[in-house]
Symmetry: C2
């Protein structure tokens, strides 16, 4: 199994890179980092984060690595190496294993990442536990969740909620009737093939973002993480342009609305950044330069928690969002 995976990753050009002195096959991989490293780990499990029943194998590999790399994008780090731990159930076929490896390899090649090591173990359930390492010359160039200041603008690197709508389409094919096939396919693809926005993250870091996070848990949740780490309040007025086309139709057909999906339905992996007002034009320009379509979605205020309003001005209160929606009554927004 290891040899097979290694072969596919080699074919994808994902096993050699300038920082890797010794790759897979010994007790440890040996690398020469670029001064400071950012390291993130992310696991996906069958039945929890994806389902083998409707995720093609390549999408499983793709998603595992893209999701992990998205955390490096959110730091503004240049990705270097990935390490893959694969839990393999008895009934995983050779072609499924090849598909997973090819999905990993495609993302690695696309993002300039070397798969420098891994481990394959037997497991009753398919899982992929990824570790990714990014590099920078100095720690000061990385953007944490903690630097947002009242007055900063809040910027999204691109439209959100598409992945949550795509999941609903995968779970219930009949919902597709509410959409043209092309829009439905695009939403499904947002769920199956998320992108790690490495270029946008680097651009935002260079453009002076004061705090940044990737939208993995839902915009409400993730804005809450950023607000808590920075000791501020995030006030978001989501414009229509920041919600992916087709989302409203899927939400309506499934008895909810786009705003509540935005609050709790994640997996878009767009970046939410706080940017000082004087850096905002440059930041928007820089993100556009990475083929993304950024939107100004709100501002940072004094206080704590998140206010999330949709295009109609309605405030989100639903679902998993409650826990970060700790509005202080009477406090200025």
């Amino acid at each position: 199994m290891i040899a097979l995976l290694q072969e596919r990753l080699e074919a994808a050009g994902a096993t050699v890179g300038k920082r890797v002195v010794l790759g897979s096959g010994d007790d440890a991989a040996v690398t020469v980092p670029g001064g400071t490293t950012a390291t993130s780990v992310d696991a996906i499990v069958d039945g929890v984060h994806f389902r083998r029943s409707f995720f093609p194998p390549d999408a499983i590999g793709h998603k595992a690595l893209a999701v992990a790399l998205s955390d490096l994008a959110a730091m503004g780090a240049e990705p270097g190496e990935a390490y893959v731990q694969l839990g393999v159930p008895d009934d995983l076929s050779k072609s499924e294993a090849i598909g997973i490896a090819d999905g990993l390899g495609a993302v690695a090649a696309d993002c300039g990442v070397v798969v420098a090591g891994g481990d394959v173990v037997g497991s009753p359930v398919l899982f992929l536990a990824l570790t990714v390492v990014g590099h920078t010359a100095d720690a000061g160039s990385l953007v944490t969740r903690a630097g947002a200041e009242p007055g900063d603008a809040l910027l999204l690197s691109g439209p959100v909620v598409g992945a949550a709508a795509g999941l609903r389409l995968l779970e219930d094919e009949r919902l597709s009737d509410a959409l043209d096939p092309r829009t439905a396919a695009r939403l499904v693809d947002r769920q199956l093939h998320p992108r790690a926005l490495i270029g946008a993250g680097l651009a935002l870091a260079r453009a002076g973002a004061s705090a940044m996070i990737d939208v993995s848990d839902g915009l409400g949740q993730d804005a809450g993480h950023l607000a808590r780490a920075s000791g501020v309040r995030c006030v978001i007025d989501l414009p229509d342009s920041a919600i992916e086309a087709g989302v409203e139709a899927v939400a309506a057909a499934s008895g909810t609305d786009a705003l509540d999906l935005a609050a709790a339905g994640g997996e878009d992996y767009e970046l939410l950044a706080a940017v000082p007002q004087d850096r905002l034009p440059g930041a928007l320009e820089a993100v556009r330069g990475t083929a993304s379509d950024p939107a100004l979605v709100g501002r940072v205020g004094v206080g704590e928690g998140v206010i999330l309003r949709g295009p109609t001005g309605r405030e989100a209160l639903a679902g998993g969002f409650d826990q970060v929606h700790s509005r202080v009554p009477g406090a200025p927004t």
Copy 2:
């Protein structure tokens, strides 16, 4: 759950260290490596690598980290950071989670390792996927599996086969009747609480070991990995002193013998090192200085594969060992 684990690791003193600029809680951990890094990943899964039914929770956490760090020991790398990915089933109790965290924390504190990040995900089965990072000033000081030369001595850092015997005792309590309770307890402890021989690995690297591997898959298998990577044959004549006390009795009571257990039964995490003859006295001395009890167990020859003979001179052929036992007929040993 994450907060609980974090709290226990903090209590163990396992969350801060000189190389860690930013620990758990942001999108990625930020570290300043020591020039060159050695990175290894290792996953353990309930029912495959341990069983919740007879592994106390602290032993699960202990084993996951010790096993991962053992790979750094086998490179002669100084351990720095660990990243823990935990797959948590619904029925894992709070006290089990605390036990696992305490086991991780104890090994981390013992080995001077910082748990710099992690991920907790839902999973139908309990798993721990570890990533460990070791540091060295230059890549040349690390010892791979590939440098053994014909004529080198083969040295074991301590007696083996205890963990395999301990597993048999855990699986069948009646086997304990063949042993005094203290010996039985020691063998069980070898299985439950393996040690990562960081000090011995560093000592062997400094003493000039030409190749090194940790005995995780069984002496036969691991000698085979070293032989293959180095393009040599490993000829091992296992003295009585290199087999842990009590192993013979357990093997006999369970209808096998110590040699066959040695060939295929692993998890001792002792180090097998090839050492040039002129460095051997210094290497033995250096390993003794780390409170280990090393033994000279064989030598490196021309050819390929492994010859593994027990104290009686009998050659091992059994079980999982066959695949590395590729003796070339008529070639000198």
